[in-house]
Amino acid sequence: MISLNVNGKNYRVDVPDDMPLLWVIRDYLKLTGTKFGCGIGECGACTVHIEGKAERSCGISAKDAQGKKITTIEGLPQNHPVKKAWIQEQVVQCGYCQPGIMMQVAALLSESPKPNAEKIINAMDNVICRCGTHVRIRRGIKTAVQIAGKGGKQS
């Protein structure tokens, strides 16, 4: 039995210790906003927050995720600046990679509320979008920074 804390809720699931967290989240907790893209930590579609940091859920075993605070896209507050900015800037195309990308951005902004261009590139070079939404991701980050700056983070 594996015990997990996801989006503030405690779950107990009967899965092998080495099952990647991604598949526990998707197939057992039925939180399908977190996506499978590559399985080797190259694309970032499976990004979640573990203890507030952006992590690839495909590369962490269920066992190693025990006892940690896990947040998925479903646990990102509805009024989170990144969500608002993504709608305002119309970032999304197919949308498959975006939950992971948004989790990456949310972690970046919590670490660094006003990231410079270099920090943005360093954080966002770790994710892949095939539709080519990159220029709007950049714009979305700027807008999210502004929204957060206006106290729009969590009401």
């Binding site: 598949w23 939950p99 709007r136």
Partner: protein, 730 residues
Amino acid sequence: MTTSISRRTFLKATGLTIAVSVTPFGARLLNASGKEEALSGFKPNIWYEITPDDRVAITVGASEMGQGAHTALAMIIADELEANWKQIKVSHGPAAKEFKNPIWDDQITVGSASVRGFYEPLRKAGAAGRAMLIKAAASSWKVPEGECQAEKGTVQHKKTGRNFSYGKLCVAAAKLQIPQNPPLKKESEFRYIGKAMPRLDIPEKVTGAAKFGLDVDIPNMEIAVFSRPPAYGAKPISFDQKAAEGVKGVSKVVPAPMGIAVCAESLYAALKGRDALNVKWDKGTHPQLDNDFIEKSLIGDLDKPGAKVIENGDAKRALGEAKKKVEATYFVPFVAHTTMEPMNCTAYVRDGQCDVWAPTQGQLVAQLVASQVSGVPLEKVQIHTTFLGCGLGRRAAPDFVVEAVIASKGLGKPVKVVWTREEDIKYDAFRAATSHRIQAGIDDQGRLIGWSHKVVSGSIMKDIAPEAVQGGVDFMSLWGLADFPDSPHDNRIMYDLPNLYIEFLISDLPIPVAPWRSVQNGANAFPIESFIDELAHAAGKDPLEFRLQHLKTNWRAARVLETVAKKAGWGKSLPKGQGRGIAQHSCFRSYVAEVVDLSVNEKTGGVKVNRVVAAVDCGLAVNPNTVKAQIEGSITIALSTALKEEVKFSNGGVKSANFDDYKIIRMNDIPEIEVHIVDSKEKMGGIGEPGVPPLAPAVGNAIFNATGVRIRRIPFAPETVLAAIKEKKA
């Protein structure tokens, strides 16, 4: 998710339901509100329903894969209907021949055709609903229709200050006869069309709620993965079914023509089962195949005779008489689709019926193969289209549907077939690699007087529509250079070429090829637009001037070139080490020109694209928000092919396996992108793809401008650029 076009569906309707029957010969409208008899003999292919709760539910046959078709199609109906945008909801319709896009005569979301295929019929459908709602209101108020006005989901009688919402009117309107030629709005009256409208699917996509194919979850469903041949034509020699079925969670091994399926309670167990299967494969049909073999084969085939595609005038004579003759050979490698959602499909075959849940671009072909493989009659096969985690042409093929149906039939339960990323890359049907040899002649005025062009590539149509390959010519493989004789798409070379000769040879490489965003326009524009640049320099002319000089009969192409040149500051000087390149291309009836500014590091060969400016003429831009997004996305994916992408092969199969060895563009390589939409009254063109083709040649032309080095092969990887620079210096 269980909608089907049936009489039942329409009878369920509780308000005003408008159906449209679109054929290549025109549109017919139907008031389908609860009228069973009215449907006999009528084939609706898009409909919307207004219900008493003031909602407008629109059902479309086109797939939503990020291109924004659902929003744009809804905008067209909503505008003419005068609906309140907040009341609109769009969903995927089932597979049905009634949903055929008139441009392709198929229910298939390809070739940048959703909006241009349905624009006029949907305007009529919206306007018909508006006319009926006005009539219903006028008759209730006993006032002339002319005194009533539709506005944002209501009908108003301003004189008396009365109004009804559409929800209140829909039941009465449903009893009226539908006008076949309702009055349309003037363009100046458009409320949504032409405005940058927010997409309807974004709110559910940012919360993680949107359901893609991989998110499908059916009670009692199992997961299947396939063990697949490592080389082309390889067959299994042995495998250990017992060991695989002994793995905890594995329920059954199902051998199939394309591989061996392992069905299990979870993906984790299925993958463990696949490992335990321990399949031994033979060497396949082409054990010597690798990248070197491929390039030699395609370039070598340029010396073999091909099939004549086009012969206008006398290119041979013109070349003989030319003051200057230029010849060059170009090569474009195989590139993979790598949609972010790997291929997948869920099927449930039982009791004479078959349900398929698929992120598909081709519902009718999915339905057909599901019927053939399951043995279930076509009308009992339901296709449920989910959101697509990108399409790029890959999802028009039904291979993943076949697999899911085989697995479900073999297991007797619902099965979701999941491709890992490694399978998604290795078993892709790629954008066709192609070699081109071009010869052209220039007269003493610097005019292009003859053009002779030989192309070798795999045939795209060979598998999907073999009857369309005639006399050894596959126009889809030639798109960008030559198009079907009666094509309305302008997928052809646009320059004024009085003496033009084109020859084509189908490569015999065993590597499957398929449409890939813009089909072969994207691959073929690279040699064409690079070579035009070579000719401009040979003629001693500015590349923009030279192009304009040879586009006298194609003013739309000339106009986007002039626009982009002005916006990008063409002709203004750049610092040393930087270069600027231009290119244009037309496809799917839209015209795009792009200017690239870049820097080349002559020590490393590294190319850094700083800025891309694009001008597009797609006729009326229904949603400028998505038009810009599509051009931005096209530029980005095309830049990825220009700088990075090439599938690696070895030992007769695909070596590239995942994003660590099949590199695609990331944030560090993304330039500033500026998109200018030309105000155009011309016939509407497509927008999902036409931004792709000009980009790679514009990059190559800019590298030439920066370094004086002409590179006739993509990708412009640092080692390629560095070698070319060194060769020139030597």
